[in-house]
Amino acid sequence: MGINNMKHMRGYSKSSRITWSRRDSMLWLFCLLLSTPTLGWSQSRIDSPNSKVLLDIPIEQLVDIEFVTVFKKPGSIMESPAAVYALNNDDIERSGVTNLPDALRMVPGLQVAQHSANSWAVTARGFSGMSRGLSGQFANKLLVLNDGRSIYTPLFSGVSWEAQDFLLDDTERIEVIRGPGATLWGANAVNGVINILSKDSRKTQGLLVTAGSGTEERAFGHLRYGGRLGPNTFYRLYGKYLKLDDLVNNTGASNSDQSDLVRGGFRLDSDLVYSRVMVQGELYNGQLNRSYNTILSQNGPFPQQFSHEDRMRGGHLLTRLQHSFSNSSDLSVQAYYDRVETDEAVVKGYINTYDIEFSHRFDFGNRQEVIWGGGYRVISDHFDSTFAFSLNPAERTTGLANAFLQDEIRIVPRHVSLIIGSKFENSAYAGFQIQPNARVRWTPSPTHTLWAATSRAVRTPSRGEYDARILLQEITSRPDEGSSFLAFTGNDSFRPETLLAFEFGYRGWLAPEFMLDVATFYNRYNSLRTDNLLPLFHNEPIANSPHSFVALMPGNSMEGRTYGVEVAAEWQVSRLWRLRANYSYLKINLALTDGFDNFAKSIAGQSPQHQMMLNSTLNPASHLRTDVRLRYVGGLASPNLPHYITADARVAFDINRQVELSLVGQNLLASRHAESSEVLFFNQDSPLVSRTTASQIQRGVFSKLAWRF
């Protein structure tokens, strides 16, 4: 016990042990602030002699001057040798969604299940993590980045979607890459990467006020002001408030899961031709009510049903500097600080993340483009010990170092390219890991692209899997002597999960108005997590209480094979009408390699086999826009949930040049439907123990008004 007990840190030498002092934090903050160039000495082009000289050049010669390309424009998605799908700002706005998980439902191959009014499980290609009690809503194989900042929580290997309130109007694009994105994004991008990009401040100038209200989205408001600080520097400031209504449980009664979330922040962009600087920061504070059915205090009952107002707050500061050395070489450096504080019924603590990374892109010879880089991240956390949940040690600081290298070789220029690369990581929980990846792209004509890829990816164990003790279920009740509980007990011999993936796809225009995107994959997973009772029924005491527990420890005794196909098609029927359709198929086969875990294989039943979506975008008149979306999600085997079909619709009308009114209906086909329920522990026939009871998703309508000045 205690901060200095470092024996859990495998692969971490004593000389590089980190202890963090307040002075170090100040040094970091100081350097972060200084690294944003002061606007006074920005590289203004006013002093450059170039511009005026051009006026003296006769036009006949102007056509022959070669210009420098500054900052290579990112390759288009059409030619990308991976299963990429992008939602741009217009797609998101017209869908009427108000939160990220709902936006992600439009991406083929992603599985989104809403668990309550303020929690979701999102994953790609299986392993939604809809199970395992306390970490119930965490899908651990998907990496999510917000402007390059990871919002993956290192405590339970997942994403707290509830803390990510969505600034729709300020979102440029959401890029989703299904499949291992290991080389450029690192460990835990096992089944995919979601990259949320916010708009450059230059694009969000002026005043924007939005407000709305509805049956489930009780109230929301967003205020944003964008301005200019000089010829090349733009900024915006914003504030957002969201109040969500509660949903009902399966008996129709309120599940007490209403929430309030406030956030405010800024972004600043400076474009100095050869350099670009971006700084952003945000603070948020939220109250999320949850309906618990879990073990809380040592006095019982076990479990207890109660409602608690969980609090979540935090913030971040991020800065990014890009510099172009020449038209064949550019560098990007990014640093951020992120803090999350959580005060829930059972889990209370904070996590500080300090991250710095860089990447350098350069052309090598005539046919190669190389990208290399590296970074270092420090995560420092503290969690209070409660009866039902504790971490040992309660406080920990770990470092994660990474480096990567990728080379794109144009074997036949404009037709065939080979991309090979690898990421190298060293962390306390997974030691040294290599994640190589190779891709081939064939573009027979500008309108068709075929690609294939093979990669290795790793899912690092989380702090919870190493250090947590979570009481799950009462096994025997001895009123005089104390009860015996089943407890998930973290263990430092739990190894990383690994994936070997094979993918293949096609993307192209079959006709001028018809685009098709198909991606198929075959994934081989090894060392998948299983929870094993060992040794059987050996009771350990729980400190400061008369109770004891039997340990359920994570092991790596399962392997899996998954395969499937994801199809996206787009048809521009006429100038005013566009149709989109998505379909995905997923098959999961899991097998235990040793030991007994009745429950692990049921993970295969937590993902639907078939999912479909049909989306119609129509502009019937010049100031009127309508969208209708129909979705089918297949049933789940375990928990036993039926399939559902749902429809969303949006109508938007421009009242005048500055004001838009929109009306959105969600989940219209049924008054309510279920997308998730807590899954059983240990024994499928016994009554379930759940941390929070699942809500049913209700039909809802809301209206929104947006003013732009």
Binding site: L27, L32, S35, S51, I59, V63, D64, F67, L321
Partner: protein
């Protein structure tokens, strides 16, 4: 290690990246020079200068890719004995008369709407999207292997009462063949 990293970050940010001088030009510096040249080689009807005969107005509609480059290039310069002024418009609804209007890619979808707003006005429209000329635009800037070229739709220009100098027409990528054949575009 923990001490070095913040200092590395600091060092990286403060390194001054010296420019190599006059030999390096960016894409939009050249395009800004082109806008200046279009002002030199296009004749507007006298009605275009009724309100102010001393200024040629260059407007930018939508996302502005020039930044301060255009303002610097036109500052203290005279074309056809008139000074140049740059105006920016976020939306087509904000438009006021311009002699030259650069329509950014973000606004090209609404080109027909824009044309209606400025119809009757002698505005030289300039854009970059691939269907700019088909949609009624007059000059389209196009990048050919890191060089800036342009295409002209002479009919659209003459409909607006503008006369384009043959010096410009000769350089237009899409007109080279027609002129070589001796056919002068109307």
């Amino acid at each position: 290690m923990k001490r070095i990293l913040p200092l590395v970050l600091l060092a990286l940010s403060n390194v001054s990246f010296a420019q190599s001088g006059t030999s390096v030009v960016t894409e939009y510096e050249i395009k800004a020079a082109f806008l200046y040249n279009f002002a030199k080689f296009v004749d507007w009807p006298t009605s275009a200068f009724q309100t102010d005969s001393t200024t040629i107005i260059i407007g930018i509609l939508g996302d502005d890719p020039f930044g301060s480059i255009l303002d610097e290039i036109v500052a203290d310069t005279k074309v056809q004995n008139k000074r140049l002024q740059v105006k920016r418009f976020k939306q087509p609804g904000d438009l006021t008369f311009c002699h030259i209007l650069y329509v950014s890619k973000s606004e090209t979808k609404r080109l027909q709407w824009i044309q209606r707003k400025i119809s009757g006005a002698s505005t030289l429209t300039i854009g970059e999207s691939s269907d700019f000329l088909e949609r009624g635009g007059m000059i389209r800037l196009v990048n050919k292997r890191n060089k800036v070229r342009f295409e002209i739709n002479p009919m659209a220009a003459s409909k607006a009462g503008l006369r384009i100098s043959s010096r410009l027409l000769k350089l237009a990528e899409n007109l080279k063949n027609t002129l070589a054949n001796g056919r002068v575009p109307q």
